[in-house]
Symmetry: C2
Subunit: 215 residues, 2 copies
DNA sequence: AAGTTGTTGTGATTCAAATAACAACAAAAA
DNA sequence: TTTTTGTTGTTATTTGAATCACAACAACTT
């Protein structure tokens, strides 16, 4: 399944919640399309491939969509995350308000110097060496890397070794599995998403400077 | 020019710096491809469309590539950014080490309560109402939105009104120009990149839960 | 009941980007 | 000098997602 598609599904669902809160019960493909910025056609096709039925005239039932999207997106399972690196970014994430409203919970932070980390967020902070044990006990699947670049690769290895299966990486070096073919025994695959703030900004600089360009 | 392409160009350049630091002078398309995870063919095609010449046998000259990529990516111009919202995320960004190494500089932060913001980062903090004046004076092009969701839309409007042309949005609502057709006089276009951490995490949850699925 | 409207569902089409394939050719080797 | 090698540059092909177009048909209207 396509990355863009999954992203759209999450957007649909978020939007559907808002519509439901407003008291609506049904939506049309063009409502959804307008709202998330895609064509109605694509909305219908998305629902089509997921076998989410609509009514030939009355559009789609919001409750039905939410329910089925929850299943497709696996939202019945708990959405628990750990954070490696409790510096500026790590602690900012631990206090990130929007996680709560989305049902995402940071259940632990790990650092090489946990005694120096402020505990104001209420998230328990452990030493990195306890990660493997913690992940095993809690069956944690997803982790965030918020360590300095220099530690990123080692942290990746630790997380994979601990059994983490999905990683959101904030270090500004691109992490990939099989960097040099070392990590690929028969362990279950691990998905990595890199959020590279520098790269995003550079992209913006490129765009804003290219106004007079031939495109 | 394609977004993915631009991203690749930035990656090439970053990699080329590292190779240069290691003492290398030339690279082959397969070196670059392996390193950033694309096919050598694509590397050659990228350079081809930019008219970056290689030698039929000896590969590409690293210095030449860096120099020309700098021009293409507009890296000769200063890379200055302002930040709106000096909460957890905003201040974390102000102290983000990696910006320095990438030549990106946060030149000001704006908040509705600047007196409550710690000044430890060395970045001057102003009241939001001074943004427009500041942007005009400094000819700032790029801004980061790090305000709560509830303030995001208003901040977007303020930035556009101030003359900002590229925006990196950390609020977890997707910002777009022409949300309802209001903002589109004849002002120069403004590019928005949304970094939606919740969405990224949801995507990961989806992936890690879909192991037994038919894909 | 018959006609009209409006929306879905999907097969066909378009489009763009990635990949593959290979001719051209510079450098090294013989 | 001639041959071999290895890499570029570019054209052709493949791939896959988004868009288009329209038949099917449920609900409303008269």
């Amino acid at each position: 399944m396509n990355k863009e598609l999954i992203l759209r599904l999450s957007k649909y669902k978020r939007l559907l919640f808002k519509l439901k809160a407003l008291g609506l019960e049904r939506v049309f493909s063009n409502n959804l399309g307008d709202a998330i910025g895609v064509t109605p056609s694509l909305v219908r096709k998305d629902f089509s491939v997921l076998s989410l039925p609509g009514n030939k005239r009355g559009g789609y039932d919001i409750d039905m969509l939410i329910e089925k999207l929850d299943v497709v997106l696996g939202r019945d399972k708990p959405q628990e995350v750990i954070v490696a690196g409790c510096g500026r970014i790590g602690t900012a994430l631990m206090q990130y308000e929007e996680f709560r409203t989305e049902g995402i919970k940071i259940i632990a932070g790990f650092d090489i110097a946990p005694e120096n980390v402020s505990k104001t967020s209420g998230v328990p902070i452990y030493h990195v060496r306890e990660m493997k044990e913690f992940v095993r006990k809690n069956d944690t699947r997803v982790g965030i890397i918020a360590v300095p670049d220099s530690e990123a690769a080692a942290t990746l290895e630790l997380m994979i070794d601990s059994g983490i299966r999905g990683i959101l990486n904030f270090a500004s070096i691109e992490l990939r599995i099989n960097q040099r073919g070392e990590i690929d025994k028969e362990e279950p695959a691990c998905t990595i998403h890199n959020i590279n703030i520098c790269l995003e900004l550079e992209h913006l600089f490129y765009q804003v400077n290219m106004v007079n360009e031939t495109e």
